[in-house]
Symmetry: C2
Subunit: 259 residues, 2 copies
């Protein structure tokens, strides 16, 4: 089942790392390798990775959020993390001290867990409200190997990203035909009806710099189909774990439904 947990890290030097998302990606694989080199290779080779991460700088600490979409990953990862953190966690040129692990919504609004069955049984939705907390961008590649990016909360790009991830990671994936049908209806009937505090931020992820958007976006589903509304309910709840768009394993695309 999908898990989200937050590490509260403190720099003994009193300065947060410059590219925490980038370093956290390295930390994640370093830990996984210690835990199980085969699993690390498998996760590294996966085209759609079964985890996401995001880093948020606070005044006196760095909040590192991990989500896992794969049942075999969460427990061993957390165990290794706690074990390794005794000597400090390496992020870039610093060793950070782990102060707390927050794994419940009571501890941190970005932590929590839901079973796949719980996600499947979400109420049907006509309105989806997502708050994008870390820069979010879509890779909208074109013909002839042109790599293009779209840093906008385009409804179809958002929902396609969620549906694609659901199809890969959920044990309750839709049949190929149903997924195609859902996507067609979303293309016709999901509309961006408003946004607020939308801003564009540049950030490093992997080898390149990306422009992404943060802020709130509200979508309305015009379709009267209860199946499509149920899918929107599932995907809207799933977004908390899967993130949205490109480079979610480097700190991009972290979002939630605001209270």
């Amino acid at each position: 089942m999908p898990h989200a947990f937050v590490l509260e890290l403190v720099s003994p030097e009193g300065r947060n790392p410059l590219h925490p998302g980038l370093y956290a990606h390295g930390l994640f694989f370093a830990l996984l390798k210690k835990l199980d080199p085969n699993l690390a290779s498998k996760v590294h080779a996966a085209q759609r990775k079964p985890f996401t991460l995001a880093a948020f700088n606070h005044k006196h600490s760095l909040h590192l959020r991990f989500t896992t979409l794969n049942d075999e990953l969460f427990a061993p990862l957390l165990k290794t993390l706690l074990h390794e953190s005794v000597g400090g966690l390496r992020l870039g040129d610093q060793s950070l001290v782990l102060q707390r692990v927050l794994a419940t919504p009571q501890g941190h609004r970005l932590a929590g867990q839901q079973t796949w069955a719980q996600l499947c049984n979400q109420p049907a939705l006509r309105q989806m409200h997502l708050r994008f907390l870390s820069p979010t961008v879509f890779t909208t590649s074109k013909a002839d190997k042109r790599t293009r990016h779209t840093p906008l909360p385009d409804p179809l790009l958002v929902i396609k990203s969620l549906l694609r991830s659901w199809q890969i990671h959920s044990p309750w994936a839709y049949s190929e035909l149903n997924a195609a049908a859902l996507q067609s209806v979303f293309e016709l009937d999901l509309e961006l009806v408003g946004f607020s505090e939308l801003s564009c931020q540049k950030t490093f992820a992997g080898k390149a710099q990306y422009s992404g958007f943060v802020g709130d976006a509200r979508f309305h589903l015009h379709s009267d189909s209860i199946e499509v509304q149920q899918a929107l309910g599932r995907l809207s709840a799933y977004a908390f774990y899967s993130g949205v768009g490109a480079k979610t394993t480097y700190g991009l695309g972290c979002c939630h439904t605001p209270p």
Copy 2:
């Protein structure tokens, strides 16, 4: 040749009208009808109207901006305007006093004129920077008569809107084949690389309320084709007169290239 001019209007009651774009649309056609009923019917019936308008509230005045894309419209319209304004210009439930007509960039940053030849001879561009001053939205209708709207500075929607208007109003329209080729290249190679101060605003236009965006957007053209870069130069300059997106005759889609 395309013209843009700004009327500075003052309310004798010290309050600006609530829906100036809506009322200005009515004022425009009332003036045109007085001037030439046949021309008014012709303009009203045109699917792509040869004018735009936008209204901006200032502390002590209302700035009403008109652009004309059609040579036969500008001079007679302005003449009628000046003639009729003696008794006050009717906007909604008020009669506003015309203080000044600003028709040059020196008088107002949103006023000016360029010949079609000048627009054609704009320098080739790789970067287009547009500031959307009034709410901008695209009608992105779908199958089965679904009317959908997109309130985002999507590069393809922006450039398609400009190219479509150019093809209708410019005496130097591209051949059908060239226009299709341009659009294909823009679809592949025009990318939104950043935006700032983007916000979503609701506004009345015609019979309905629309959500539109205002703010700055910067686009980059990846294509090395000089023809495509020239087209971007033309369309970027033309945007000042044509506006972008839906309901430009009701106050939406007013934009310019900031200095």
